[in-house]
Amino acid sequence: MEIIESTKPIYAILISFFATFLIAFAARSPNLRESWTVIAALIKFGIVMSMLPIILAGKTIEYNLLTVMPGLDIAFRVDAFSMFFAITASTLWIVTAFYCIGYMRSLKEKHQTRFYMCFALSLSAALGIAFSANLFTMFIFYEMLTLVTYPLVIHSQTAEAVKKARRYLVYLLGTSIVFQLTAIVATFYFAGTLEFIPGGILAGTASDMVIVVIFILFIAGIAKAGIMPFHVWLPEAMVAPTPVSALLHAVAVVKAGVFIVIKILLYVFGVDLLAELGLGLALAFVASFTIIAASVIALQKDNLKARLAYSTVGQLSYVVLAVSLLTPAAIAASLMHIMVHASSKITLFFTAGAIYAATKKKKISELDGIGKQMPLTMIAFTVGALSLIGVPLFAGFITKWYMATGAIEAGHLIFVGVIIISSMLNAAYFLPIVRAAFFKPLPEGEHPKVKELSGYTAFTVVPLLITAVMVVALFFVAPWVMVLAQLVVASVIGGS
Amino acid sequence: MIMDIALLLLVVICAIVAIQMKDLLSAVIVLTVYSLLMAVIWFVMDAPDVALTEAAIGAGITTILFIAVLSRTRRGETEHNTKVRRFSPRAGLLIVVAFGAMLAVGTVDMPDFGDPHAPAHTHLAERFVEMGYQETASPNLVTAILICYRGVDTLGEVIVVLTAGMGVILLLRTTSRRKQLTNNDGYKPIMCSYYDRADKTTKVVKGEIIRKVVARLSIPFIQIFGLFVIAHGKVSPGGGFQGGVILATSIILFTMAFGMEASRKRLAQWKTDVLNVTGALVFLALGLVCILFGGKFLEYTVLPLGCDMWTNKIAITVAEFAIGITVAGIMITLFIETAKRDDK
């Protein structure tokens, strides 16, 4: 495989970092400040996309920034797998940047400068995770992501926000320090390196027992992936403003979590080692449990964002489940699902935020007839929901299809069952919302005409329409995406 | 042997009495006796330099400082039934016994007392004894080591004294608020310093004349003796420390006899402040001059003062005087700062 040395990944990471300063200096003039955000998002997207042709040509980009300690480098590597996450995050940031403007201004939120600064920083961290070439670099950006999203979660600074944000921090920082760092140290001690290498670095370096322990530590240490019982922080983080929930707690942060899980499974342990020790199967069961349990909990939530949050927990475990099946189709499905879930879930969160910005409604039971007030919004919501349920013509269908194929390939039909049951549960918690929105009458006294596309509200509605279109489009461009996925699969499973 | 053991027993008794007496003034007096006995023991053990120092510092200055403090605080030790109890005596006893037991275990492998073949006497000490006089021109080997071989230690020692003096100045020399406090420990309150009585009384107190006359007569002799001890440090026991303390004693005696104000008139505060650091600076300068002449710090022999013998003699004398100056200054400072009367 050809390796190209290039500083592009660093620019991609740093662009939003520098934007932070510009945003800080433009604190007095909101328009300039938001322009910086948008410009940074566009440039970032441009840089990421400029790397795509190189990757599609089967090359990788590497850059070793500096050696911190003997054996610990800050190094970046862009391969096909990184691109899945990088493209998702950088594309959706553009959309979210506009959405933020609408949401924050129509709600007249305080501390907006801090908000935009932290937002830009968290994108830096997300891309840092995507491009990291070793566990150490990844760990740095993982911690950075936790720290810079903390001010976003605590944004409202109410007593409730402070309490929940602190729990957010304890969960994410705590698990990462206690479990993940231990696992990294152990990996370094046994393998002598922290480099991500397709096929893994741990095989044959330590006894089975030790490897199992390291595995458990890693899985427990990556709370961002939301595998039960380390999912508690995710619903709590919904106390943050909706754009944060949308981009970070449906896309960047949690996707970073599953991204890292996949990366560690495939590039630290390696498919063969996992299969040999039966770890993949074990993880698949944990993920399955999370999928079902989260869906059941989601059913009981009346708060729209809470329901979406539990849905996220479940959907993340799809990714984990798929990869832990360890077959080519399933791995491809899991990569694909990163994109699919991101675009679908961000649409749903955008809708929740748009509804709140326009009508101050948070609960599902209040949404009767809202389809008449905000038809466009609710159509987009329907698109997102159908995609996640797995209806054909929407992106979600593709991943579920491949996932099921993968399960059959692996010979574990039980997981096909899990997928079917959970799809039914998905339908059970999404469809009633759609039904209530379109077919139930508005509560008395409410005016059916809300200006959906006027003032700042327009900024919230247009982005969600765009993402809805993306969800549909993904279904049709899936074959091209699969090309990228095949590149990854080929590298980790040795061409099969 | 019997004499030794008797002295040691006496010392132990003194120590126990000193810590058990409720009257602190008496305890301090017993402590003085303890120190003096200790000096005697050391003299018997062929350590005249140390004995002299202990007599001057341990029994002399320390006692004076203790009494000064008692006169400004209170004489009695009182039991308080307080809620806060930091440390029970029984736990203390336990720790102390463990501590003693550990030390005693160590004695098992020690060479016998007085054994001339102990490692302590055969390694470093041999060269000091054999070559000390030739290499330093100082017949008193203690001085030879003190000023020459281990000159930096001695410099450090001067700095320690200086540090303590500065520390006491930092603590006690302020004009900030002070509270008037009452004593309620059953002893008669001592409202002003013992040493300060002289300028407080207007009429002639019984015995005062004697005190003043004795002081007048003896002070010059004390001072000359102090200078002698300093200057002769290299040939006989004694030196800067002992001599410095003796010089300080003369001032302390003057203060006791004529009062703080009279003393301050003769020897103003700024003068002692200057004295304090002068000695240390002279010692440091002595070392630095050696560097300027191409040697190491405190390498006296590089100085162009004639033959090595004379160079060493002169350098040792300078160093002894430097030590003496600082020690004298600091001891006076310590005394005056602790013994001065509280402002009302």
């Binding site: 500096l66 152990a186 | 098992v108 000490a125 540090t163 520390g167 700024w270």
Partner: protein
Amino acid sequence: MIANIIENIPGLVVLIVIIAASLIPLVGKSRPVLAWGIAVIAAFLSFIMSLYILNVVMTTGKIRYWFGNWEPPWGIEYVFDPLSAFVLTLVSFVGFIVLVYAKKSLEAEIDPERITYFYALYMLFIGGLMGVVATGDIFNLYVFLEIAAIAGYALIAVGRRREALMASFTYLILGTIAAAFILIGIGYLYMATGTLNIIDLAVILPEIYQSKVVLIAFAFFTVGLSIKIALFPLHNWLPNAYTYAPSVTSIVMAAIATKVGAYVLIRVMFTVFGPEFELTVVHVTEVFLVLSVVAMIIGSVLAIAQTDIKKMLAYSSIAQVGYITLGIALMNVTGLTGSIMHILNHAIMKACLFMVVGAIVYRTGITHIHDFVGLGKKMPYTMAAFTIGALSMIGMPLTVGFVGKWYLTLGSLEAGMWYIIPVILVSSLLAVGYLWRLLDNIYFKQPENASELKTVKAKEAPLAMLIPTCVLALLCIVLGTFAYLPISIAEEAAKVLLRY
């Protein structure tokens, strides 16, 4: 002439500080600012010299400077190996930078008439510590230890509140006990070997490892030094001493006093007695291991319980000392490297944090953490420095705190003691607990009642205080990011100590 002076730098590096200390009462009598000027110049020169020494040691090896040109073991020598050069540089650097900071802080916290002597004692304190680090003679070490100790007691006692006096006295009693133990240890060693020179001792001692005199000497050294570094359960003096001392004293004490104690402990354990002694004769490492672990946990838990920021930082120091002794107890190069790196980390990070506290006290006079609401807005740069220091304490990657912890965890694995790792990490987590509560108050908490806000009049700290604080904060990051350099020194030092 110049060549002469350069040749004598190993001695002058300490002496210049002491010379300055002796000059200060003369020169600064009427004008404290002159005292400050002399102190700053001397400290800076000393720092430059120590850098020079570090450079020479790392390029050409050990330096031995014979005072008076008397060859050791008869004379006293200064010995610089990688460890002592490293710690010396650290001490002189912190000493210098705190001095820059001290001017403003002292004006606010000390009677004007006391300032001159405060500077003199400060210099003696620094000089004493430097002497301890530099010396190669064990009795000389005791003398310099006492210079630093006596100066330290006085520096603590002039705190603003009367509790400072009692804190100082308690410290004096415990410190004197510690010093007496060390003196006993020296006496026993001298009795068994007849020498006082550290290198000479290291040669003679292996022949008489089995002697009970040596054993007891070792016991007394370790107990005495454990008091000096406030190793649990001998830490009682520390919290009050740090809390009630003037800010400047708290900074230097927290940053370098216990670190120098740790240095001496390492020196005694590894150079004087030698690693063989601990491994074959006393098995003291297990004891240290247990005490370190307990210190790391208890210190952090007690820190969580505090509401006074200085006390909180003081208890956290007790936990941090646990890290240092842990690295010593591991008895391998990686662990010891971690220990030395943690000495560096703790010195810089604690100095930074205490400087921030001093700045807060300077502007508002508050130390109670519930009163800190709103400081993030009022003193943004100071608080940014605090945040960085806090991250370094937690051990975030790319701060210097991470480096030490990384090596300690790796060292525990190497020693086969994987069960230490959770303790290290849980202790870090507890640090998150108490620091984050503080950061929440500073940045995010809303004042319940605006009129009760004690930070209304606060504003950014004066530049003379802000710059040193920010320099230290930056160092936390720079040394954590470009950790290669300090690690190479620390690793070299560890190798020398373990005789590889």
